[in-house]
């Protein structure tokens, strides 16, 4: 198992910066201290253990000096100075509230003024109990207020998005939220409005900012509101030092002192965010961004923050289900009955072959259990974690360039001079990687080059240069485009490839070759949390755990010893990948399927995948919620969601993100269920508990197997769409119909509205303007969405992969790079003759 954190510690050439000799010596409260030049007084004091009260100050935001709470007395200065904006200087003598009457008086004065208009509704405020204003008012404020006048009032609360509510009277106008939105997220959708004591945070309410106002720039009575449209809006709630910003999901649900907090890791994408989950009475009530400077700093995305309602969804499976031979319906059965049925069924199906399909929700430990189960209990290499369009080239690439590799870290991203991104839309597919790139771009010197069909809003926020790519043409561009080569030739340059590049013939080959040629470091960024770990755990038809090639006898021998199986017992031929398993099962050539965390709608051909489930002799499903798989399965086992088990995710860097159980529950891990099935198949799996698996993985020696060479697949032909046709571009939007967020209406309210993007020329050809309906079709079906005219490569149409009204793979049966038909308006009635022809 690879782990970036370990590697960083071990390697002196990485991580820690050379010690800065630019230091100054100053005195704070009579204590001499050495600080780095440019450091802020408030930070130096904090390092010394002197807490200066503050509100607007935030270590990850630029100094503002707005709240004035952190005033200190500096010798030689006429007035008290805001320590959050004052940088240190040689010989400076600082006195904080601890040693200076002036500073204490100034701070007390500001505190009293802050409270003048702040409603003392702490007993009903969500923030009460964890509120910086409340806490600091207790430590630095007066016992009683002298303010006798009428307090400011506002309509309360206002929804600034479906998730975020704002109680303006509680706001102390520290501007952390607006500064975060502008500086960090780049989504300036909230701002200060009005002035003086009427100053407030609000959303834009006139049509200058894209809302539907009255047309003359006047506020349209709320009609023109532009909601707080940001994937990172939840962070503003977390950094609000009062209870002014609250989240729809948590508002009025609990008091902080009744919650039990657990540090955990986010299960939604490969960013690997640290997270804090707060629960009470057996239910997770909220999640917050965890504090991990190496990974997510102090931020997370809204999906990670709010996408946990699936744990309590009504369609969550809680008992084993068995298909009744008589009625053909699933019925609730005991664990022993279900386990026996699964074991018998799999044993019977083994002869004709059982394919194992796993999805992105699996932890490393669970993925390892499937990898082991496939090899040891089912005797097959037909196991694949890729529940999405894929290629054989990709499996080779993952074996050569990803498994066991941890070459690039977040810190590298921040400090890199140049990054080329291909097959990846960071804001949608790995939001925290996006934030770190933005930090590198805004605060340091990172120049981003995007190889994409258009410069998305996310790429605009990264200040990216665009190498316009028609989907399918990326391989050729990587090989030939001089701008890409130049961007990667800068020392320290990084090449990011997303999982979507797998569908471009030759794409990953070209990327590996380009990295080798330019010396740029390569990072493969999958979309789901479990994907990176599944590779190293061996959930691939060509790889055993630890990146050992199945075709290598030495690698197999290593695993035979580790797994205590006979030499030669492990299958030696490369197995079938997801597509081949699906095709074989659909053709009735497979005895059974073991499926976990896979939505057939995510696979390259959902219709075929469902046929596969229908035609496979025996289907076992391990799942959280009912799905298209459980509906077709013979045996269904409930498994634990991330909050109810411990485990590890491997983020895109290859960094271990281990987490403990948040909520004690009776739900079992996938590994535990597999072990129980295995036991009834006379196989001892040893995957029953997470610690055992970790010990087994930890004890595994480093493989001596030779790493395969990178694939060298030739680039495919450039797509040539005909009249009324275009090449399809697509990717997932962050918040879409994914199975873990499905049904969460509040979260869905912050999703970007699905549109079909076309270029100007195509729009002119079709005679449509922004907002007109256009229909994108294939022989299988059609999707009609409002057009969004975008600066897109010619003859390309972009659709969201899995958003409301655009379940692309299911409706069209194709993916990026395919040629699709375009027409204006909604499709007319389909004639029988057309269907038949």
């Amino acid at each position: 198992m690879t782990d970036v954190a370990k590697k960083t510690d071990a390697d002196p050439n990485r991580g820690g910066k050379p010690k800065d000799t630019n230091s100054v010596t100053l005195t704070i409260d009579g204590i001499q201290v050495t600080a780095e030049k440019g450091e802020l007084v408030i930070r130096v004091a904090e390092r010394m253990g002197i807490a200066i009260p503050r509100f607007c100050d935030h270590p990850l935001l630029a100094p503002a000096g707005a709240c004035r709470q952190c005033l200190v007395d500096i010798e030689g200065q006429r007035k008290p100075v805001a320590s959050c904006t004052q940088t240190v200087a040689e010989g400076m003598v600082v006195k904080t509230q601890l040693t200076s009457e002036v500073a204490a008086k100034a701070q007390g004065g500001v505190m009293e003024l802050l409270l003048a208009n702040h409603p003392l509704d702490c007993p009903t405020c969500d923030k009460g109990g964890e509120c910086p204003l409340q806490n600091q008012a207790m430590t630095n404020g007066r016992a009683d207020s002298r303010f006798k006048e009428h307090k400011r009032e506002y309509e309360k609360p206002i929804h600034i998005s479906s998730q975020v509510l704002l109680d303006r009277e509680r706001c102390i106008l520290c501007q952390r939220c607006t500064r975060f939105s502008e500086e960090i997220a780049g989504d300036k959708f909230i701002d200060l409005m009005d002035r003086s004591s009427g100053e407030q945070i609000n959303v834009y309410r006139d049509d200058f900012f894209g809302g539907e106002g009255t047309g003359d720039g006047q506020a349209g009575d709320g009609e023109g509101d532009v909601p707080f449209n940001s994937y990172f809006s939840g962070n503003t709630i977390q950094i609000c030092p009062v209870g002014a910003l609250t989240g729809e999901q948590y508002r009025f649900r609990a008091r902080p002192f009744d919650l039990v907090s657990t540090t955990t890791a986010c299960e939604h994408c490969a960013a690997g965010c640290s997270m804090r989950a707060d629960h009470r009475r057996g239910k997770v009530l909220r999640r917050l961004a965890g504090d991990d400077p190496a990974v997510n700093e102090e931020w997370n995305c809204d999906k990670g923050r709010w996408g946990f309602q699936y744990q309590v969804a009504t369609d969550r499976i809680t008992t084993p289900l068995l298909r009744d031979a008589r009625t053909g319906e699933l019925r609730e059965v005991s664990w022993s009955e279900a386990l026996l049925a699964a074991a018998e069924g799999l044993k019977a199906a083994k002869g004709a072959g059982v394919g194992v399909l796993t999805g992105g929700r699996l932890t490393v430990e669970d993925a390892y259990a499937y990898a082991k189960f496939a090899r040891v209990a089912l005797g097959t290499n037909d196991v694949d974690f890729r529940s999405r369009p894929l290629s054989a080239e990709e499996a080779d690439f993952l074996a050569s360039s990803v498994a066991g590799v941890a070459d690039v870290t977040y810190e590298d991203v921040e400090d890199a001079p140049s990054a080329v991104i291909v097959g990846l839309e960071p804001e949608e597919e790995c939001p925290i990687l996006f934030l770190r790139m933005r930090k590198g771009h805004n605060r340091k010197k990172l120049q981003v080059t995007a190889v994409a069909p258009y410069l998305s809003r996310g790429f605009e926020k990264l200040g990216a240069a665009l190498v316009a790519a028609v989907p399918g043409d990326e391989a050729r561009l990587l090989a030939e485009d001089p701008a890409i080569a130049a961007a990667l030739s800068v020392p320290g340059a990084l090449l990011f490839v997303g999982e979507r590049l797998a569908t471009v013939p030759g794409g990953l080959s070209a990327a590996a070759a380009l990295a080798a040629r330019t010396g740029a470091r390569l990072a493969w960024v999958p979309r789901r949390a479990g994907d990176r770990g599944a590779i190293d755990a061996g959930c691939l038809p060509n790889l055993l755990p630890g990146g050992r090639p199945v075709s290598d006898p030495a690698a197999r021998a290593e695993m035979s010893i580790a797994w205590k199986v006979e030499a030669g017992a492990l299958p030696s031929t490369t197995g079938r990948d997801t597509d081949a398993i699906v095709a074989a099962a659909a053709a009735g050539q497979l005895g059974g399927l073991l499926v976990a965390g896979v939505d057939p709608g995510d696979l390259a051909d959902p219709r075929l995948a469902e046929q596969a489930l229908d035609n496979a002799g025996f289907v076992v499903s391990l799942e959280l919620r009912h799905s298209a798989v459980t509906r077709r399965a013979d045996v269904v086992f409930p498994v634990a969601p991330a909050a109810e088990k411990s485990g590890t995710f491997l983020d895109w860097e290859g960094r271990l993100r281990s987490f403990g159980t948040v909520l004690p529950s009776t739900a079992m891990t996938d590994g535990r269920v597999l072990e129980a099935i295995g036991a009834l198949m006379e196989v001892t799996l040893g995957t029953g508990d997470v610690m055992t698996i970790r010990r087994e993985l930890g004890a595994m020696p480093v493989s001596k197997a030779v790493r395969p060479v990178a694939p060298a697949v030739a680039a495919g032909p450039r797509p040539e769409p005909g009249e009324q046709e275009a090449v399809l571009a697509t990717w997932h939007q962050l918040i879409d119909l994914g199975s873990m967020t499905e049904g969460d209406a509040v979260l869905a309210g912050t999703a970007r509205p699905p549109v079909a993007r076309i270029g100007r020329e195509l729009a002119a050809t079709l005679g449509v303007i922004d907002g007109d309906a256009i229909t994108v079709g294939t022989d299988r079906g059609a999707i009609t969405l409002p057009a969004a005219i975008t600066d897109l490569a010619p003859r390309v149409v972009w659709l969201p992969t899995n958003s409301p009204g655009s379940a692309l793979r299911r409706s069209l049966g194709v993916t990026a790079g395919a040629t699709v038909r375009l027409s204006a308006g909604r499709p007319g009635p389909v004639l029988a003759s057309e269907v038949n022809s």
Partner: protein, 438 residues
């Protein structure tokens, strides 16, 4: 009304105001006839560095209130840095009582335009902006007309008078915020952002407008430049005092016979100025006055002989400011006057920092209560303490300006407050003023 004595009349030094009474002096032909654009021709023949030295030699200090030496400010602009330089003229005159820049721009706009061209040439700026108060529609119209005339004449645009120097001068009207008279808020507003003061450093001389080196000068400062170029520093220094050189436009308002602008050498006294203004109105005796607008600490009748220059006023415990003297008599109530000023500062606070935003909200309400006859003795302590908590604690000087009249009147006229609180003075406001959230 009394006639000023001859020796007092001789104290008038009409320099910047000299054309104000000439009919149509705002027109190019009249301005040119009255020495207009002569200084520009002279300046363009001189090396910019020598111009900066000339201004340094003259001892010209900023007319916007702070009195910073102008030549020094110009000298801060890094030369040869490859960045564009900007000249920004602060014409957002909005301080209560101050009315020196608007008449200048109305009656003699070309003197500002000419000064702007010379100043821009000196600091090597090819773009200059006049940020004029939005409400000053007529002055802005005159200015724009003057800029158009100057451009038509070749005083603006490319290769001005064959010197190879290019300058675009833009007249930009503000949107009615007093805070935009604060130079960094002005720059933000000019850039199209919300007008709120910026964090300093960096100072405008290094990173001002569009993060480039920028000089921000008051109208009076820039309009003085052509006269210094024509008359020379020695002539300029023949007016005023040693450390506060040159003439200054004093705007007098209040209980005097002839309110208006009186241009005299720095260092004149209020006693002399009142005489120039025809004396106090009949039946009125001087009680208190502002030396330089409402944000400067008040002075009283005992300060009538204070020299009105930067040093003299400072010695009296106040600030020269914009030399806007609001003169109040024994028939005026200092508590009421302070409340009116506070309403202004409360209305104009930008809201960025806590002391100014919340402190003014609080003080305004306390004054309303006192003036409605519902004040308490404790209110006076609270007012004093709140003013102390604003003064020197706010982000920019606006908060200081708001706290100043409170502190001054509490210091000099505590009895007037007590008269309201103890019922000796009839309430000036009805209890209705206390109703409502805002």
């Amino acid at each position: 009304m009394t006639q000023p004595r001859r020796e007092i009349l001789q104290k008038l030094t009409p320099v910047l105001t000299k054309r104000w009474l000439s009919p149509d002096a705002w027109k190019m032909e009249v301005y040119e006839r009255l020495d207009g654009y002569a200084a520009l021709r002279k300046a363009l023949d001189v090396h910019p560095d020598d111009l900066i030295q000339l201004i340094k030699d003259s001892g010209l200090r900023g007319r916007g209130g702070a009195g910073f030496p102008t030549g020094l400010k110009w000298g801060f602009i890094p030369q040869g840095d490859g960045k564009p330089h900007y000249l920004v003229i602060n014409a957002d005159e909005g301080e209560p009582g101050t009315c020196k820049d608007l008449p200048l721009m109305t009656y003699d706009p070309h003197s500002l335009v000419e000064g702007a061209i010379i100043a821009a040439y000196a600091i090597r700026a090819n773009r200059a902006f006049i940020y004029i108060r939005g409400e000053a529609v007529h002055a802005a119209r005159r200015l724009r007309h003057a800029v158009a005339e100057a451009k038509a004449k070749g005083y603006l645009g490319t290769n001005i008078l064959g010197s190879g120097f290019d300058l675009e001068l833009v007249v930009h009207s503000g949107a009615g915020a007093y805070i935009c008279g604060e130079e960094t808020a002005l720059l933000d507003s000019l850039e199209g952002f919300r007008g709120q003061p910026r964090l300093r450093p960096p100072f405008p001389a290094i990173a001002g407008l569009y993060a480039s080196p920028t000089v921000v000068n008051n109208v009076g400062t820039i309009a003085s430049v052509p006269y210094i170029v024509l008359g020379g520093p020695e002539w300029w220094k023949s007016m005023g005092t040693e450390k506060s050189s040159g003439p200054m436009i004093y705007s007098l308002s209040g209980r005097i016979a002839n309110p208006g602008q009186y241009e005299c050498g720095l260092g004149i006294t209020l006693r002399e100025l009142i005489e120039l203004a025809g004396g106090m109105q009949p039946g009125h005796n001087l009680k208190f006055w502002t030396p330089g607008g409402s944000s400067t600490p008040l002075l009283t009748a005992e300060h009538i002989d204070t020299a009105m220059d930067f040093e003299g006023v400072a010695a009296a415990g106040s600030i020269l400011g914009t030399t806007a003297m609001q003169i109040f008599s024994d028939q005026d109530c200092p508590v009421y006057a302070t409340w009116r000023w506070l309403e202004f500062y409360h209305h104009e606070s930008c809201g960025k920092c806590t002391p100014c935003r919340e402190g003014n909200y609080w003080m305004v309400r306390t004054y309303r209560r006192i003036l409605s006859g519902e004040g308490t003795h404790q209110d006076l302590d609270t007012l004093q303490d709140t003013a102390d908590n604003i003064f020197g604690r706010s982000f920019c000087g606006l908060g200081d300006g708001a706290a100043t009249p409170v502190m001054s009147t509490l210091k000099f006229f505590r009895q007037d407050y007590l008269d309201y609180i103890e019922g000796r003075t009839a309430p000036r406001l009805s209890a209705k003023a206390l109703v409502g959230a805002h």
